[in-house]
Amino acid sequence: MISGTFHTSYRSDMALRRTWLERLRLGLFIAFVLAFPFLVGKKPYPIFLMNQIGIATIGAIGLNILVGYTGQISLGQGAFMAVGAYTAGILTARFGVPWWLTIPIAALVTAAIGAVFGIPSLRLKGLYLAIATLAAQEIIIWVVTHWEAVTGGVDALVVPPPMLGSLRMNTDFRFYWIIWALAGVTALLTANLFRTRYGRAFIAIRDQDIAAEVMGVNVFAYKLLAFAVSSFFVGVTGALIAHYRGIVTWERFTIDVSVLYLAMIIIGGLGSISGSLFGAAFMTLLPALLTNLGRSLRGVFPAMDEFIPYLQQASFGLVIILFLILEPEGLKKIWDDIKNYFALWPFSY
């Protein structure tokens, strides 16, 4: 179906979407996102789930820039999200900065802190770097819980609701548009980044850092840049969580979150933007699905009631393990296989 496209300029050959089918698919996805709240009749729960997916997508793209594209394993995702969330929360709650302005500020602050904690990547690679970022995770959360004058310590930080005129924006329906607009911008900026020298340098560092250095890439500077760009988007995620939930607590940014996000990008597809979306959707919808399943099973096997929560947890783990065994390259690979199958359809061989 996609044969017969002839590009006559490098400009069109280098476009992000090179064929009409690719453009159609993207158009359909955007139309779906725009229509979704109305398709579900503005019911809060499905929109809430979509909001969770949108927020997680931004964070997953951010983490994927660092881990998937640049090859620097990070266990500090949760803490960097905390930096974004607390920066946005504190600015609004204590200094009255407008909520929309706190999102870019929080992103920049997180980018700066991410770059600082990226310094160990000069000497450390792979698992050793993971341990160094684990230290970042623990240090940042320790600071958050102990710097009571600023963060409120272990107590929750209450963030005043984001207002647009007299409209309270953090209802599920209204915040939906903010989240998905930012998710779209994040995806576009990231896609652009990886068709210029910056993105290529990141991938070069992941694939062959010595060759990258000899090709003229200042590896250390670009690693720090990868930490900064990645943390920028993670900071956006944190800021969105702060304003959406209206409350910031440190428990929401522990090491569990870092691991959850790593699982997201591994299951979705490392080094892929659509994979980040798939992973975010999978890791958000699967627990929700299992919870609903458990609830509906409750009446059927009364004797099993107390085990159902454990079964949910176990099946969550099981699905992830099966996934890694059956499709180690993630949901992105499945999606690519489907696309490739239909590339020559109906004349596939």
Partner: protein, 276 residues
């Protein structure tokens, strides 16, 4: 509009010197790893637009010499001076990425490509040092960033033509055959528009036909574009045919230097290769 012929519209040579001028001077370098000596006082000169072959038995220090030139190893004694852009670069004090920006490109003995990128992206990444668009305009792919990418794509297509690899442009490098990977690696080094090109065994593991192709590409780059080439090679037939001068290393020392004919008659060389 007049018909425009494709191929070689862009110069590949990044040197500002005239042919024959001294481009690189290696001055008495000593390199040791702990107690193991790799180079013991090697000196040599490379002149603009020549092909200089470095030969020698295994462990003679050939790759160590190349790694010292491209800044991956740091000799304990001696200097390496490189002339370009009207300046004198002291390579022994520079970092590899700075040396690349000065105009020294290289390929590796064991292919070190970016395996998950396409051939095109590998070549585009070779032009890294020449790209100027900032992070902000790159994120938005605004005017300058887009124009720059398109301009370099046009340049890269020349290299793709030169190396006869148009059919594999969009292939992932990791999936290519060995001989093609070697070719792409040469292309990536050329994309840097080098003044000096260091090739570490560009024909290792190739069959005769592939070697002929590679020799032709190297000669094209040298003769049509005037790029200076320093290459390490074990195939004596190739070395004798394509190089202008030969330097012979053995146990970290230079034992001979001269034209291929001179070197092949040198008793020290014959002894190093054949033994007593």
């Amino acid at each position: 509009m007049p018909l425009q012929l494709r191929g070689f519209r862009h110069p590949l040579n990044g040197s500002t010197l005239e042919p024959g001028q001294t481009q690189l001077r290696v001055e008495n370098i000593h390199l040791a790893f702990g107690g193991v000596g790799a180079l013991a006082g090697v000196s040599l000169e490379v002149r603009q637009s020549e092909i200089l072959a470095i030969i020698g038995p295994n462990g003679a220090g050939k790759t160590s010499l190349l790694n010292s030139i491209s800044g991956l190893y740091h000799p304990q004694k001696g200097r390496i001076v490189f002339y370009n852009h009207g300046r004198e670069y002291e390579l022994t004090r520079m970092k590899p990425h700075q040396i690349a920006a000065a105009g020294v490109a290289r390929s590796f003995q064991n292919i070190e490509l970016f395996r998950h990128m396409t051939v095109l992206d590998n070549l585009m990444s070779g032009a890294h040092v020449h790209m100027r668009a900032g992070l902000f305009s790159s994120l938005f792919y605004w005017g300058p960033a887009q124009r720059e990418q398109i301009a370099f794509r046009d340049f890269i297509e020349d290299i793709i033509d030169l190396l006869e690899i148009p059919a594999i442009r969009y292939k992932k490098v990791g999936a290519l055959a060995y001989g093609l990977q070697k070719r792409v690696e040469l292309g990536r080094a050329l994309a840097m528009r080098p003044a000096l090109l260091l090739l570490d065994e560009p024909m290792a593991g190739m069959n005769t036909e592939e070697k002929e192709d590679m020799a032709r590409f190297i000669l094209d780059v040298n003769e049509e574009h005037g790029v200076t080439i320093v290459l390490i090679e074990h195939d004596m037939g190739v070395v004798m045919d394509i190089s202008d001068r030969v330097v012979v290393l053995n146990f970290g020392r230079k034992i001979a230097e001269g034209t291929p004919e001179e070197v092949s008659k040198n008793p020290a060389v014959i002894e190093a290769y054949l033994g007593h």
